[in-house]
């Protein structure tokens, strides 16, 4: 390698591909928002609509933070949509049993955390791929939610709890605040703690991580547990919005979450990624969902559009990661 090269300018300015991707997606987002605004004659940009988008995106972000941790380690979780429903059902039933709502929320988070602890342990110790295990959990969790609730929504009648999904702190909806806090904490943990660094290490090269003295099983299980807590929380927020625990909530949600994460620059192979990326990706997906709905586009076309965006996102992910030679 030429160290004392006169090409010092090119040598120093190694443009971080991750940052490039984030910038690219941000620009795309702005363009998309502009397009929707014009097409909807300003309805997209209306504050009420933006609040709706923000609320929807909040749920994706809360779950997305957990799944980002999982994906950075090189794993995946396909069951988050089912967990969302399961959390809501669990919460609603706890409240029905008379548990104070705040405690019920905490219990829900712990319950999901425990569930994910089991899932994570199976994946780590049995060395099964997370794809298959979480695919199975997708059905199992949905089945539990449906059978427990008898297939019907479980209503929650508790005014103070309603705040969590529908209330405001000043001008900002509470779900947004929750998502914002989770995001900041998540990004901080990822970048500034040893745990976060180990997460990148396990995803980057699991064997090297083990040789370096990292307890890779513990890291893998931990990211699933974190995701469990966050999904439980998101399920509660959603239940708050719906005034009920709904057994059919979150169908297809995992696609939105994974799309957000990949658009945001997290690699499917692990080792790379950031929370900020997930945030921008979630806004992208949320904007598409919302914009197409406002414009009256039929659901079927919305699905196609979403699928194509995901496809594009993955292509761009590969394209920017490869060194062009």
């Amino acid at each position: 390698m030429r160290e004392a090269a006169p090409k010092a300018a090119t040598r120093r300015k190694l443009v971080n591909p991750q940052i490039m991707q984030l910038l690219g997606v941000s620009v795309a987002l702005i363009v998309l928002a502009a397009v929707f605004t014009i097409a909807s004659k300003g309805r997209f940009i209306h504050p009420d609509n933006l609040l709706t988008v923000a609320r929807q995106v909040s749920i994706t972000v809360i779950v997305g933070i957990g799944v980002t941790f999982i994906m950075i380690t090189g794993n995946i979780d396909l069951a988050v949509g089912s967990y969302l429903a399961l959390s809501g059902i669990f919460l609603a039933n706890m409240i029905l049993l008379g548990v104070p709502w705040l405690l019920a929320v905490v219990m829900t988070m712990v319950a999901l955390g425990l569930l994910q602890f089991l899932v994570g342990t199976v994946i780590a110790k049995q060395r099964l791929t997370s794809l298959i295990v979480t695919l199975a959990m997708l059905s199992i969790a949905r089945g539990i939610a449906l059978s427990w609730s008898g297939g019907k929504p479980v209503y929650i009648e508790n005014d103070s709890f309603m705040q969590i999904g529908n209330g405001y702190l000043g001008p900002i909806p509470i779900p947004v605040i929750i998502a914002g806090c989770a995001l900041i904490i998540g990004q901080f943990v990822l970048r500034k703690t040893r745990f976060g660094r180990y997460t990148y290490a396990v995803g980057g090269n699991e064997e090297a991580a083990r040789s370096s003295g990292i307890d890779t099983d513990r890291i893998k299980i931990s990211v699933f547990v974190i995701s469990g807590f966050l999904t439980g929380l998101a399920g509660c927020v959603m239940a708050g919005r719906l005034f009920s625990g709904s057994p059919v909530a979150g169908q297809g949600f995992e696609l939105d979450v994974i799309a957000s994460i990949v658009i945001g620059g997290t690699s499917m192979n692990g080792g790379l990624g950031s929370m900020i990326g997930t945030l921008i990706g979630a806004f992208m997906v949320g904007a598409i969902n919302n914009g197409l709905t406002i414009l009256g586009v039929e659901y079927y076309y919305q699905l196609m559009a979403k699928g194509m965006i995901i496809f594009l996102a993955i292509l761009i992910d590969r394209w920017t990661k490869k060194v062009r030679v």
Partner: protein, 498 residues
């Protein structure tokens, strides 16, 4: 027989952050064996990858048999007559020899169905050109590395290749297999083909090559007939400075003190089918070499000691105390460290930069009030830039784009970060150039002089002879002999290894 087969003129190739090739020219003559030498990062592999179509040059021209070739993909280049055989070997292990040779050129019947009958005969034809008795219906997975290499060469023949590029072909071969390979190269030469031979092992250049071209830092330094060259001259061209060729046998330890206690004692290590009742001792401040051929079990032994593998039986005593090591974490906490044989898959994080790679085992000490402090990390890592001469001296430089030698130094830095008392180094100079090798030897000697104990696993006899105080020879999973620095010679070690 002096027509030019390949002519590469003024090739320039820029990668993000580094100029890999700067105005490099290269000429290959019909029927010659042309060695391409240079330090890691000098640009040899890059130049050949451009020739074979994997990369495209930024500027400069390539002609094959007088005709300029431009923007060809690897498949087209193969059909043109230029084949490349890589160090990592590009065979499909789940297919048999014949299927591999005809991969991409499968014969089909009129109904587009694969025709399997004739390929075994055809394959035999090419294998016999190389005087090889390999069975074409044998699964490649079952073949040794040397045999797989022969299959690759047969594949090149099946494309009627006039130019065969071999990138570090001898790195995984025994002495005997290397001899066989050279026979094959001579045959290819006799058939009028040309061979480009990339190798670090300068002794081989003198054995097999007609011409040698030296690259350094992306520039072409010179091309000469091998018979007009001396070892010192090549090294000087490669490195830009004089290097001692042979090391004096330097045991770095003074006479072992009477009754000195072993720092590490390994007893009765057994792993089913891999290790058989292995015991040895390691003393403070000594360099203990482990010699043996590929497959003798040395790496497996080290991995077991370090906690990466579980054993059926065996005990470890550190300073006399029975110690449980069940994971690398335990090993590190007990003052051990290891650099693995295959850094890319086992030790190096390609998604990390230098700083993140070096500190990963020692993060606990990089924190300020519980959170990672970048300034502290940088300060810690910068020390290693000087002691190990890592280039570039930039803590944020991505490991992915570093040269092999510098990557290896980063791995060594990581292993030293935890201040171990015992350092296990498995093939620490594999795939790195003469200059970097010397630096690593200096580091090893300095560590031993400072009182650390080093276990050195190496397949390079000169290396192990010049560094070790004692040498343990392994064969088929067992210890077959132990030699002191004075008694050890290459012949004696080889005799015990086979």
């Amino acid at each position: 027989m002096s027509s030019v087969v390949v002519e590469m003129k003024n090739i320039r190739k820029q990668f993000p952050g580094v100029l890999a090739l700067d105005d490099v020219s290269f000429q290959l003559i019909e029927g010659e064996v042309h060695a391409l030498v240079g330090e890691n990062g000098a640009g040899k592999s890059t130049l050949m990858k451009i020739l074979s179509g994997i990369y495209h040059q930024d500027s400069g021209s390539i002609s094959y048999r007088g005709r300029e070739i431009r923007s060809l993909n690897t498949r087209q280049v193969r059909y043109l007559g230029i084949s490349t055989i890589y160090q990592e070997l590009n065979l499909c292990k789940n297919l048999d020899v014949a299927e591999n040779i005809f991969l991409g050129k499968e014969k089909v019947t009129a109904l587009r169905v694969l025709e399997k009958k004739h390929i075994h005969e055809e394959a035999r034809k090419y294998l016999s050109m190389l005087d090889s008795a390999i069975d074409p219906s044998q699964l490649v997975d079952r073949l040794s590395i040397a045999e797989q290499q022969i299959v690759e060469i047969a594949k090149a023949l099946s494309y009627e290749s006039q130019v065969i590029v071999m990138d570090e072909p001898t790195s995984s071969l025994t002495l005997k297999e290397t001899g066989k390979l050279f026979e094959i190269i001579k045959r290819l030469k006799a058939q009028g083909r040309s061979v480009v031979f990339i190798s670090h092992r300068l002794e081989e250049v003198f054995l097999i090559a007609d011409t040698a071209s030296v690259l350094r830092d992306g520039r072409h330094i010179g091309t000469k007939n091998v018979k007009d060259l001396t070892y010192e001259e090549i090294v000087k061209m490669m490195v830009g400075r004089e290097i001692e060729k042979k090391h004096a046998k330097t045991g770095t330890r003074a006479e072992r003190k009477q009754g000195e206690e072993a720092l590490l004692e390994v007893s009765n290590f057994t792993v089913t089918n891999l290790l058989n009742d292995i015991s040895f001792k390691l003393y403070p401040g000594e360099i203990l070499g482990f010699s043996g051929i590929v497959g003798a079990g040395r790496t497996e032994l080290m991995e077991t000691i370090f906690g990466l593998r579980s054993r059926v039986r065996g005990e470890i005593r550190l300073k006399g105390r029975l110690t449980q090591i069940r994971s690398p974490k335990d090993a590190i906490e007990n003052g051990l460290a290891m650099t693995s044989e295959d850094r890319k898959s086992k030790s190096l994080f390609l998604n990390f930069n230098i700083r993140e790679n070096v500190t990963i085992s020692f993060l606990r000490h990089m924190t300020k009030s519980g959170f990672i402090s970048s300034p502290r990390e940088k300060k810690f890592v910068t020390k290693f830039f000087t002691t190990l001469n890592i280039k570039p001296k930039d803590t944020e430089f991505p490991a992915l784009t570093m040269s092999g030698g510098n990557q290896q130094k980063v791995v060594i830095a990581k292993s030293l970060s935890t201040e171990p008392e015992i350092l296990i180094m498995d093939e620490p100079t594999r795939g790195i150039d003469v200059g970097a090798k010397e630096e690593v030897y200096g580091i090893i000697k300095a560590l031993a002089a400072a009182g650390k104990s080093i276990i050195l696993v190496s397949s390079e006899l000169p290396e192990i002879l010049s560094l070790s105080d004692r040498i343990i020879v392994m064969n088929k999973g067992a210890v077959v002999g132990e030699l002191s620095n004075e008694e050890a010679t290459e012949e004696r070690i080889m005799a015990m290894s086979v």
